[in-house]
Structures are given as structure tokens and as C-alpha cells.
């Protein structure tokens, strides 16, 4: 938390240089990074857009788009990304409860915090491989369930299309919740003591205190975390799905997601133009998230500059 401390003690820089010279100088400092960013993002997005309208060197209008959007597998993939978004409220709730429990805990707090945060540090491919073992029909989880007499709960976690996506999201939740806990805990700790004075005098209950006081006080962080996780569910689940379903998105199409669809179109089905069209659809879908993110960040950027 050193960083936060430095920041809060500091006074913002107010530059007194003349604008023209200032923007020229700024340009020189920013240019190297901007070039890389322009190349990686600008070039790629423009190229992918152009490509989505072409086939075999010819301009084909919206043909690629109409092929992709009528593909049941792509629609299934989008639906699954949507269903994964349902895990976001679960993540937020879990993270909030755990953060509060940690905040209220003196003894052993550091241990619990480290433990809760560990999954977030582990590589996703490793996590996916290990959970792949655990979730086998004759794997660790079912062995455990049977040993405590809960046989009826033992399922074919990754082999049954009805529950495979749920299983997948449980792994994502397991890995991502620690991040939320850390974010929220950091914010709760930084809240001034007075926040709780009134409640203390009231003798309000533990959960009520936190629900009615802490929750609104850290709303910014909750929203931030929610947006980050929404982004994860839409554009960063490839690693989990690829490893846990052997690159197929199966069983059937039960764990197909849009990233995997694009990857398979481009690199397995030799249809880069369809992959490009699907990528454009995905990009448009993430624009919504991008705008949300942009607004949050801009507010904070403006705050920084106006200090």
C-alpha cells in the first residue's frame, strides 16, 4: 500500500509551461509508446475490419457477417459469454463477504488474505489442467463427495453438456474472486474511522452495518471490479476453455465461447475472413464495456489532473 500512501500525501503537479511548447514536448515523450500502441491496436483493428468485408481478395460486402451471424455455433458462443456474465454478481457478492470477513478479522488476517489471493496469481493453464483432473468423473472431487456420503452430488462435471459451462465458471470464480477481495479490502481499510461511528452508536448489527454503510462507501470499487470481471467473461476466457475442453469447446458446443470460435475459424477452419467478421461482432459487443470502462477511468483521470 506504499503507493497509495505516497499518492495521498502528495500534492498534484500543476504545470506552468506554455501550451504550444508543452504539447510538442509531450509528443516527444509519448511518441514511442504511442507508436507501439497504434501499431498493435490501430493497425490490427483497421485490418480486421477491412478483412471482414473481403473474401479471397474480393470485396464481398456483408457476406461474411451474414454467414457468421447465422451460424448456430457462433450464436451459442455469444450466448455462453452472456451466461458467463451471470457469474459477475456472484463474484461481487462473494468478494464482498470475504473482504468484510477479512476486515473484521485481526488474528490470522494476513494468512487468510494470502490464501484467498493465491489463486489469482496461478497461471490459468495450470489452473485449468489441475481442475480438469479434479473434475473428472473419477476425479478428486467425486472421490471426496462419495467419501462423505454425498454420492448424489457426484457429477460428470466436464463431460455432461448440461453442467459443463457451470463447471467452467466455477473455476473462473475460484480464480478471480481473490482479486475482488483484495480490491475491496484495500478500499475498506482506507475508509476513515468515522464512517462507522454512527452505526456503532446505533448498535447496528454486523451485516447490516456493512451492507448499509460499507457497500455504498466502496461502490466505486465494486463497480470497477464488476466491469473488469465483465470484460474477463467476454474477452479473456479462452485460456480456461481451451485447456479444459481440449480446444474443442465441448462436450458438443457446451463450452464454446466467442474467443474460441474466432480462434477455431481462423486457425483450424482456415476461414480468416469469417474469423474477422466474428471478431468485429465481438469488438462491437465489447465497445459497450469499453465505454463503461472509459467513463469510469475518465472520471478518475480528470480527478488526477485537477487535483
Amino acid at each position: 500500500m506504499k503507493l497509495t500512501r505516497v499518492k495521498s500525501e502528495a500534492v498534484g503537479v500543476v504545470s506552468r509551461q506554455r501550451p504550444a511548447r508543452s504539447s510538442r514536448e509531450a509528443f516527444l515523450w509519448i511518441a514511442p509508446a504511442a507508436l507501439v500502441i497504434l501499431f498493435i491496436f490501430g493497425y490490427s483493428v483497421v485490418t480486421v475490419l477491412i478483412q471482414s468485408f473481403r473474401y479471397d481478395g474480393d470485396w464481398v460486402g456483408f457476406e461474411n457477417f451474414s454467414i457468421v451471424i447465422t451460424d448456430p455455433i457462433f450464436l451459442t458462443a455469444l450466448k455462453h459469454n452472456g451466461q458467463l456474465l451471470l457469474a459477475v454478481p456472484v463474484l461481487i457478492t462473494l468478494a464482498f463477504i470475504i473482504a468484510i470477513a477479512l476486515f473484521e478479522t485481526r488474528r490470522g488476517m494476513r494468512f487468510y488474505r494470502s490464501a484467498v489471493f493465491l489463486p489469482y496469481v496461478l497461471p490459468i493453464p495450470v489452473v485449468a489442467v489441475v481442475f480438469g483432473q479434479i473434475y473428472q468423473l473419477n476425479g478428486a472431487l467425486n472421490i471426496f463427495l462419495k467419501s462423505v456420503g454425498l454420492d448424489f452430488l457426484a457429477k460428470d462435471w466436464l463431460g455432461d453438456p448440461a453442467i459443463a459451462l457451470g463447471t467452467m465458471s466455477s473455476v473462473i470464480i475460484w480464480k478471480e474472486v481473490g482479486f475482488g477481495v483484495i480490491l475491496m479490502l484495500a478500499h475498506i481499510i482506507s475508509l476513515p474511522n468515522e464512517t462507522y461511528e454512527a452505526a456503532r452508536i446505533d448498535g447496528a448489527g454486523f451485516w447490516r452495518t456493512h451492507f448499509s454503510i460499507t457497500r455504498p462507501a466502496i461502490l466505486n470499487t465494486i463497480v470497477f471490479y464488476g466491469v473488469i470481471e465483465a470484460i474477463t467473461m467476454v474477452s479473456w476466457v479462452f485460456n480456461y476453455v481451451y485447456v479444459m475442453s481440449n480446444g474443442l469447446g465441448g462436450p458438443g458446443n457446451a463450452t464454446m465461447v466467442s474467443e474460441l470460435y474466432i480462434y477455431r475459424s481462423a486457425f483450424q477452419n482456415k476461414a480468416p475472413e469469417l474469423a474477422a467478421a466474428a471478431a468485429v461482432f465481438l469488438f462491437i459487443a465489447t465497445l459497450v464495456l469499453m465505454i463503461a470502462f472509459f467513463r469510469i477511468q475518465r472520471r478518475s483521470i480528470a480527478g488526477t489532473f485537477n487535483k
Partner: protein
Amino acid sequence: MKTKTGVQRSKLEATFRYLLLSFVAITALIPAYIMFAGSFKTQGEFLKSPFGLPLSPNAAGYRAAWTDNFPNWLANSFLIVTGAVIVTEVLAALAAWGFARFPFKGRETILGIMVSLMVVPPVVLLIPLFQLGVELTLISTLRLVILIYVGLMLPFSIYMLTNFFKSIPESILESASIDGASSFKTFKSIVLPLSGAPLATLAVVNLLWAWNELLLALVFLQSNDKKTLMVGITGFQSRYSLDIPTVMAGMSIATLPLVIAYLFGQRFFIAGLTAGSTKGE
């Protein structure tokens, strides 16, 4: 917040809290435990009792993994991560200083857009970059992957460092410019020495991301001797699907550098990951 009437209730609450935390901690730790313990077991032991301790620990799994391609993959991962993290630090620090120190029209918007690029799914960028890589015969070179990683890590890095640079007290900088120091000299001799903690934090965050990245590495590093650990272990798990201890040993090797970094640099991890959200409250 414990009132007298609430003593009993708070005792109950404390019990509940510890139960909850213990449950969460066990859930969080057990897969790592299964992996690590499993890496020292035999296949039979693992299948019979995945939760048990390795009663007669053996390192056969590690030997098998190590004599496979692990040293090679590990070296590639180190090279890529080191290269990408260092280049990102340099470019991001320069750009962040530009943003923080020199006001210009549209600064907030440009920074805002740049930061929003974090949201763009990498899979969208994959196809054009891959084609370009083929044309330039840069497929299976570490250079191209490093460049792409740098591009993807820059938005957040610039954002974070800009926030920090803005917080450096003006008085310190003024004294330097009175001394007639150029802006580069100010940056080098005053700003950078003050920025150890945020630079370390940033390095840790980027390291975590680059080490764990799979999709891009999978596509751009096709030849076996250029694979990173993450790509390597993805194929490794099916190659040794009959030998789970070896798979688990491989996974442990891939995880260990990160866990060590985490244990020693937990402070930086946490600072880095919260930096994006606690700002601008």
C-alpha cells in the same frame, strides 16, 4: 463496533467469520495442494487418494518433466517476460511523464482512450498480427511476441505511472528546473529515483500477466524450441495424460517462479492490482 449487548452476538459472528474464512482458504489452497502433493506421488497413489500426503515422496515426475522440454520453455518464458517487462517499463515511464508533466489539449481524452484499449479482446488483434508475422517471417520468433506483449501491457502501465507522476510534489520538480536541469535530466535524476515502488509494482503486475499468457503465445510460437511454458504445458498435459504425477510436476515447475515472486513481493502485487481502482475516489 462491539457494543455490550452485542458481545454474545459478536462471538457468534467471529466463529462464523473464521469458519467462512477457513472454508474459503481451504477451497483456495486445495487445488494447489493436490497439484504439489500429486507431483511427488506415484500414479497409483494419486488415483487412490488425491488428497493424501505423498507418503513415500519421489521426484520421478520432476525428472521426467525436466528431461522433457521444460528447461527450454522456461528459458523462453524468462526471455519473453524479461524483455517485454523492461521495454514496457521504459516506454510507459516516458509516455506517462509526457502525460503527467505537459498539459495539452485533449490530454484526458487521449489517455482515456488509451486506457480503454485494455478492454479490447486480444483475439480481435490476433488475425492481422498473425498475417503480418507470416509476411515478415516473424512467426516463432520471440521478438514479435515481445512486441505484442509490450503493446498490450502499455495502456495500463501508462495509466498507472501517469497517476503516480502526477502525485510527485511540484516543489521538488521546481527546484530542479530552477537549477536549469533539462526535462529529461529532471526525469532521470529526480523522478525515476522517486519511482522505485510504483515501477516495481508495475513490473510485478506485468510479469504476472506475461508469464500466464497463453493465446498469443500459442498462435505466434509454433516451433517447439520457441514455446513458452504456458504453451508447452498445454501440450505436456496430454503427452503425459497417463502419468499424472509428471503432469503435476510440470505444473508445479510452471507455477513455482510465480508463487515465489508472490510470496516475496506480495506487497507489490497487491499495490499493483489495486492501483487501477483506488485512484480517483
